[in-house]
């Protein structure tokens, strides 16, 4: 059974959930622990935390937050954003995160992937790729939250990340992100068919069908969405019911 995963993403800034989560009544909609627990109860298969703090003080709050989350959560979660060294990875993983995701730092220093895989095991290292379509065809990798064009081809970079020991690829289409016009099926299918490791599709979800499409045509192993879930435009239980009806295996 290839059981696909539904993964909500929580953006964290200075230890708080950005914009909050509004799909249930919270005492504190900005508390990462409460938000994560609510998602766990709603049937999320995993949870992704993305730290978008701009300052090192902001980032320091993350390791401490990770422990609180790990104490409360009984499904896996990953943490990404601002992770630059093996020590950074170690701090987050030792605090109880199941996985870390590397993005800009891995592009700058690809050996970080192999060092992380060696120290903690491949399955705990996600390589996050932000990709944007090129005018001449293909996709280019961007870093620093989409600000820096790297000149790297996204498909080749994904294959290299796998060779270096990444256990999973978190693939975000910058063209689609925030548009609600559907995932980039072509990009996702291209990368997923070139690597053996699972690909989590991100960016562009707006309807139930978008999820179905990226899990079938896009060959994704997992789907990630943020605001769509946060604002209850689509709920995880209903999405799972829909996918199940259309013949996609999902848990619970």
């Amino acid at each position: 059974m290839h059981v696909r995963r539904i993964i909500p993403c929580l953006d964290i800034k200075d230890g708080r959930v950005v914009k909050g989560v509004n799909f249930v009544d919270f005492r504190d909609a900005g508390d990462p622990v409460e938000c994560a627990k609510a998602y766990q109860d709603a049937g999320a298969d995993e949870i992704v935390f993305l730290d978008i703090s701009a300052t090192s003080e902001g980032r320091d709050t993350v390791a401490c937050l990770v422990s609180k989350v790990a104490e409360q959560l009984s499904v896996p979660f990953s943490v990404g954003g601002g992770i630059r060294t093996v020590n950074d990875m170690s701090a987050i993983l030792d605090a109880g995160a199941d996985k870390v995701s590397l993005n800009s730092a891995a592009v700058k220093n690809p050996s970080l992937i192999s060092e992380g895989a060696e120290a903690f095991g491949s399955q705990r290292i996600i390589v996050a790729i932000d990709a944007k379509q090129k005018a001449e065809g293909g996709w280019e990798v961007y870093t620093a939250g989409g600000n820096n064009a790297t000149g790297l081809d996204a498909v080749e970079w994904a294959m290299k990340a796998e060779r270096l020991g990444a256990g999973e690829i978190l693939l975000t289409s910058m063209d689609k992100d925030g548009t609600k016009s559907g995932y980039d099926l072509e990009l996702t299918a291209e990368i997923s068919s070139k690597v053996k490791i699972p690909v989590i599709a991100s960016g562009g979800a707006g309807t139930y069908e978008h999820f179905y499409d990226v899990l079938t045509k896009g060959k994704a192993s997992a789907v990630l969405a943020a605001s769509l879930f946060h604002f209850n435009e689509i709920s995880i239980p209903k999405l799972k019911e829909y996918l199940q009806k259309r013949g996609i295996l999902v848990s619970k």
Partner: protein, 203 residues
């Protein structure tokens, strides 16, 4: 008291959080005397087989674990389960603890090209043979896996399986009835996983 062996391999935090959530008395330790006085032992682990065996050996606990294996309940989780077997073919050939007959082999060779490796995510655990470990577990409940290798040639010891291109050995028990192994992560498998841990604590 449950002793969770800390030999430098794996994510102990979640496991210990789960045991504490269940209000089970536990310690994280790399000391022989703690294993001797513990009622039960958990051997966790993520990473590579050879590396984990080397670290267990370096910690000086390999022989203690082998000695105690028939005397008190022992639970290996994920890689900690794999090293219970005779040997593994992960990056070469490595000798395991030999507490359960069988070998550990790459999934990719047996599941066909269409499926991803690692086998990562939720799967149903189907009970093959009933056992006290399933005291609070219902057949077909969901558990969380992350692995690229799996145990085979161990049919007689299999209690539970999950289908992933091949019948993946999910839960095993030694002939002595004292040594258990879970390929999935009970500490990451929500309520169902917690109930398996509770049952282990009552064996």
């Amino acid at each position: 008291m449950i002793a969770v062996i800390d030999y430098g391999v794996g994510n102990l935090f979640s496991l210990v959080s789960s045991l504490r959530f269940l209000e089970l008395d536990c310690i994280v330790t790399n000391k022989k005397e703690d294993l001797l006085r513990a009622e039960r032992i958990i051997l966790p682990g993520v990473g590579a087989f050879g590396d984990a065996m080397a670290k267990l050996r370096e910690s000086g606990l390999e022989d203690t674990v082998k000695e105690l294996a028939g005397a008190k309940p022992l639970l290996g989780i994920c890689l900690g389960m794999q090293i219970l077997f005779d040997k593994s073919y992960e990056h070469g050939e490595h000798k395991g603890l030999g507490l359960i007959p069988g070998t550990v082999a790459p999934l990719a060779a047996d599941i066909g090209p269409a499926l991803k490796v690692p086998h990562m995510g939720w799967n149903r655990l189907e009970i093959v043979r009933d056992d006290q470990i399933f005291k609070y577990f219902t057949n077909g409940e969901w558990v969380y896996y992350v692995h690229s290798f799996y145990a085979k040639n161990c049919t007689e010891n299999i209690l539970g399986v999950s289908e992933y291109g091949v019948m993946v050995t999910g839960l095993v028990c030694s002939g002595s009835g004292k040594v258990y192994g879970m390929q999935f992560h009970p500490e990451k498998s929500g309520n169902a996983g917690l109930r398996l841990l509770r049952a282990f604590a009552e064996i």
